[in-house]
């Protein structure tokens, strides 16, 4: 077995032991660190259900070799709420607008929407569609998701 390495996830240093070096960050987050909010679907970057932020950059965790992320700041969907039991504005908006059906794509969408609103607090429909173009949802038809993003953006803008 290779030497253990450490990943910084949601502000906490986590040791990854007894792992295979060929493991993706997605696999390590779920199977080694127990952070199952990040979803495993296509494992080839097609669906974005495994999206995380690495040093603030939106990334498909399935396409990151976990060992290469040592020393970087990794934020998963579990790290986005204000507190452990609090939902973020984006998460609240998804609940209230009915933007969740089976829920499998939702964590990746939540991370991508956080990333979008960080850069663009007042996105147009086109901006939202472009930002979420890599997130596949097979239930909703995207209409409620679009509504949730606009609702979250509006709530965030009204906050001091």
């Amino acid at each position: 077995m290779p030497d253990p390495y450490s990943l910084r996830v949601n502000g906490v240093d986590c040791e990854v032991a007894d792992s295979d070096l060929a493991e993706s960050l997605l696999f390590v987050l779920r199977e080694r660190l127990g952070l199952t909010g990040t979803k495993n679907a296509c494992t080839e970057g097609e669906c974005s259900s495994c999206a995380v932020l690495i040093d603030g950059v939106l990334t498909c965790s399935c396409l990151v070799l976990a060992a290469t992320a040592a020393g970087q700041e990794i934020t998963t969907v579990e790290g986005l709420g204000d507190g452990r039991d609090e939902l973020s504005v984006v998460q609240e908006a998804f609940v209230h607008e009915g933007a969740v059906q089976c829920g499998f794509c939702t964590p990746g969408l939540i991370v991508a929407v956080h990333d979008l609103l960080e850069a663009n607090p007042d996105p147009s429909d086109g901006d939202v569609r472009e930002a979420l173009s890599g997130n596949l949802c097979r239930c909703t038809g995207y209409g409620r998701i679009l509504a949730a993003v606009h609702s979250a953006a509006s709530t965030k803008r009204s906050q001091p």
Partner: protein, 288 residues
């Protein structure tokens, strides 16, 4: 996999490759990790280069643009590179989705050397020089000498792609691509076209319609003689249509799971006609 080295400088990357010349270089992971995840590849040694600052640099001069191998598609679209190499930005814009463009790099596109690599026709049309470094020092070569077959390069063991140096011609640049939707699409046919008003030439290269990245040299020479360079550099519709047919003749497409040879040949003709008209639409000479 017995070791993973995360290089933090060009020296570190070169040292790691010198000790394991058979090592696999990992940049953004958008190609390599797909193969690792599926169990199709299991490299013994991996050298990660995404955090090598020297590879992430780019520069723009009056007549030359240098793009480091580690520059991402997002950076090609959002930095001053987008003005200096507009076709590169257009090609980057068609790659994958935002998270894919945040990860994927120019060097990765070159190293994978797929005929459908979206930046490759742009590099060919901009007369790119590919800069590599390795145990025997630096080598420079044109794209033709770098991409030598489907997913095959002339990189030697221990060598690393450092940068691509591009021309900066005075004229419009176009990149066009065909696929089933706008996002997350691997090209069924792609084309880059560049107008050079000083040299009075047109340069056109094709993606996903041959084993390599062919330049349509016969069509380039033919059309350059039919452009009225002295009077606003305009192009007749008939010339643009004929140009499309001549460009398509430079393709040698195949039938596969993404498309058919016949459709690709047709598509590349349409793209060539469209790109030429756009490059020489009114004002084309003025904003050059």
């Amino acid at each position: 996999m017995s070791d993973v080295v995360v290089a933090r400088s060009l020296d570190e990357a070169q040292e790691a490759l010198a000790s394991h010349p058979d090592a696999t270089v990992l940049a953004g992971g958008t190609d390599l990790m797909v193969e690792i995840n599926r169990g199709l590849r299991r490299p013994r040694h991996v050298v990660g280069v995404a955090q090598v600052p020297e590879l992430r640099r780019w520069s723009v001069a009056d007549n030359r643009v240098v793009v480091g191998a580690g520059v991402t598609y997002t950076e090609m679209m959002t930095t001053p590179l987008a003005d200096a190499a507009p076709a590169l930005a257009q090609a980057a814009r068609t790659v994958g989705s935002p998270p894919i463009r945040n990860a994927g790099t120019l060097g990765g596109n070159l190293g994978t050397a797929s005929p459908a690599g979206d930046t490759l026709p742009v590099l060919a049309a901009l007369n790119a020089e590919i800069v590599v470094t390795g145990p025997d020092g630096e080598r420079r070569m044109g794209l033709d000498d770098f991409v030598v077959g489907v997913k095959q390069t002339s990189l030697r063991p221990g060598e690393l792609i450092v940068a691509a140096e591009l021309d900066r011609p005075t004229g419009r640049q176009e990149f066009l691509k065909i696929g089933p939707r706008n996002a997350m699409v691997i090209s069924m046919a792609g084309l880059a076209l560049v107008a050079d008003h000083d040299a009075r030439t047109v340069r056109c290269a094709l993606g996903a319609v041959a084993a390599g990245i062919p330049r349509a040299r016969e069509a380039e020479a033919w059309v350059a003689e039919r452009i009225d360079w002295d009077n606003g550099a305009s192009v007749d519709d008939g010339v643009a249509d004929e140009f499309g047919s001549r460009v398509a003749a430079a393709s040698s497409p195949i039938d596969d799971h993404r498309s058919t040879a016949a459709y690709r040949r047709h598509a590349v003709a349409v793209l060539a006609t469209r790109a030429l008209k756009r490059a020489f639409a009114e004002g084309g000479a003025d904003d050059a």
